[in-house]
Amino acid sequence: MEITVSTAEKLGLRPEEFELIKRILGRTPNFTELSAYSVMWSEHCSYKNSIKWLKTLPRDGSRLLVKAGEENAGLVDIGDGYAVVFKIESHNHPSAIEPFQGAATGVGGIHRDIFTMGARPIASLNSLRFGNLKEDKTQHLLSGVVHGIGHYGNCFGVPTVGGEIYFEDCYHTNPLVNAMSVGIVKIGQTVSATAAGVGNPVFIVGSATGKDGMGGAAFASADITENSIEDLPAVQVGDPFQEKKLLEACLEVIPTGALVGMQDMGAAGIICSTSETSAKGGVGMKIDLEKVPTRQKNMKAWELLLSESQERMLMIVHKGREAEVQGIFEKWDLPCSQIGEVTDDGMLRFYMNGELEAEVPAESLVLGGGAPVYHRDYTEPKYFSKIKSFNPNKIPVPDDLKDVAEKIISIPNIANKRWIYNQYDSMVGTGNTSINQPSDAAIVWAKEANKGLAVTTDCNSRYVFANPLQGGMMAVAEAARNIVCSGGTPLGVTNCLNFGNPYDPEVYYQFVYALKGMGEACKKFDTPVTGGNVSFYNQSPDGPVYPTPTIGMVGLLENINDKMTLDFKEEGDIIFLVGKSSNDINSSEYLHKICGVEYSPAPKFDLDEEYAMQQKIAGLIKRKVIASAHDVSEGGLFVTLIESSFNNKLGFDVVANDYKLRKDAMWFGEAQSRVVVSVNPLNLEVFKKVMGTHPYEELGVVTNGTVEVDGMYWGTILEWKEKYDTAIETYMNHYLAE
């Protein structure tokens, strides 16, 4: 087979990249080698179009034990000899084509990133985006994705403790499925994704290798089109039972000290794990591909290198200790095969039955080594002019606010998500404290360290669409706010950057400015970015999705009993809004979904004001002055109040203080940096003292179950709860009945 530039292009490489490969090798690559470069230099593995800007994010912090990008996931010190390991990753394109397996293997992949470092995953979260829930296609995708996440996570045995989901038209063809895993490890028991020691044996452990997921990394780096269904073999198939055994076996092997390094096999399988571990250790490897256990006969060298079969790990073992490792894998009934050894010259040599199939420098394949880095152009999107021309005065304030409120709590973005989360095991591990006592972030008890972890994922992508810079900040700010409102101290961030095609300068503008905003906010909240994932090409012929830089944040509670919950506790408690009411309906669910306005600016936000507000909330919680704290987000103040009432079936009697404010802005506006707190009257004086000059206003009192707004009776909490609880189910039960 003659290899030409057109072969390279068929594999997704650009002509200039083909030239670069020829220069590196000093010859024309063969097909196997070219395939290796095509996946390793895909956006998914190389970050070639994003790394320039990723490097501008704050990546240092006193608690950070490894820097972003150094290992498979971030590692943050939580004291007393323990560290938290966490990462978020996308599985958007596979889920668009095959929602069940796409989502399932997304969950499997992110957990592997955590336990390949030696940590036991103790919590998972997910961040999902779909099109309009009225559409059959959306119901099909939602049903499959939720089933897939549940199938994998429930069997693997890690609780799904939190997440978020939004339904917006722009995600109709290209849904987003981002999964996050959080693990705990004893400092000193971590494993590095590195190879070292000439002559040390290299093992492949876990599942046998098949042709599934062939070239998935390259597939993830192209637009979704109507022909994407033909890429079905690029979607992997998951086996959570195998992964559960792999987890236990890996965590049993690590304390023996027999391992030099370990790297999970996700995107680009054997080629990725061998090249990354070799490049990191400055060594090479000789691999005999015929020794790889396979699921089917006659697999070719390039297929073995690129296969994305799940539940596999590459292990580099100290020579002489092979038997110990093999013994443990035998105990767990898992294949464990030596496939090669570490060499000293930095070259990867892959043999098949003695025949050299590929010979490439490990360094040349990887990010930070030979992989190309691009500077992309960007220009301000044209739709910004529509945003600038929005005039709120043309939106009449509705007369019947109760009617609007009822519609708002039935919007799928706001309504109860129990149809989704009841399909996830949220309690396995007996560490999720938020089932019986909910908070803005999920609070997970890390038992062995006896500390609380506050975890959350956040991103309102409509805000980012309206203003990428501020929207990026707001995503980080909301995550920090959720953690602070739960009694935690923000520790660090992992991000999943979901954008459209980076070769479109307007999309790239969104990317650049969202990252600038995120970076600024991460500095403010002292939450370094520990790692994450970039997912470009989230677009269909209809255009790109909203820019969606999902933030996964982890916070710490030194004492789990210091947690704060979001629900009103007692009739008669006084309700305050911490922060300022604002005459702002911009980019709210109300304006977008009820009034039907697509283009409006992002809601009011000021980073310093947000930070000051969070400090106040942290102070109130520390001094045990407040009974509940719940931040104002989608749907505005009314939704915050009603959500605070559900758990204990209480209600509220509130009035707007400022008659100059639009009523719709008062109750449904989404101006940022606001939190609803409830205070026992006995604590009133201390509350006011702690608040000092920070803006706050008294809204009213907690009732025993009635809802009254501006002196009008709005019914009982049970009536509101029924509407809130059943909105999503109505769509989905109808779908399943068909």
Binding site: G150, C155, K245, Q423, M427, I435, W445, K447, N450, L736
Partner: protein, 230 residues
Amino acid sequence: MKFGVVVFPGSNCDRDMYDALKYDLKQEVVMLWHKDKELPGFTTDDCIVLPGGFSYGDYLRCGAIARFSPLMQAVIDFANKGGKVLGVCNGFQILCESGLLPGALLRNANQQFVCKNVFIKGEEGKALKIPVAHGEGRYYADKATLRQLESDNQIIYRYCDADGNITDAANPNGATDNIAGICNANRNVFGMMPHPERACSEVLGNTDGRRVFKTLLIKNLQLTAEPVLA
């Protein structure tokens, strides 16, 4: 009384059960490996627990493979000699598959996995809030078996609402007669779908599970234990 928690490949509530028994209920407890053939040091005063999870992946029928594991043969002998056995969730499924308990657990009526707090009613009288987490938890038995379970008082828990009313709405999986748990005729083998080990810790904000362990196994259990480690 000593507890042994059996670890099958794919068990994922084994540690939770261990933690609840050891730290919340202050019991002596050891982990047992499915490949072992004996229960050394266990007498009929002791209790073997089959925990929840997905033994062998549950790709066939839940519990259908686990019943053939080497240790299960020993557990069956142990139960037949009068030793206490508790199966929770996947453990209940294994007990039914192995014939230690009658009936079977079918796929939930709505075909979906369900995880949430439910209420169950047993001899404690008051409704207990205990979580469920299963895809195949719909208890089924033929009419004659059901009649016998009923007449011998072998139905140990039924799904109910917060006030203790046994209603269809309170049934999370479509189980016959709202059955959440049963025991054998000798009252030494217990199986239930809800997870009492998930409701034993003050940190989790629910300690109703302690009552289940007290009723079924640990008669002298103190219900108000100190919060653990906190």
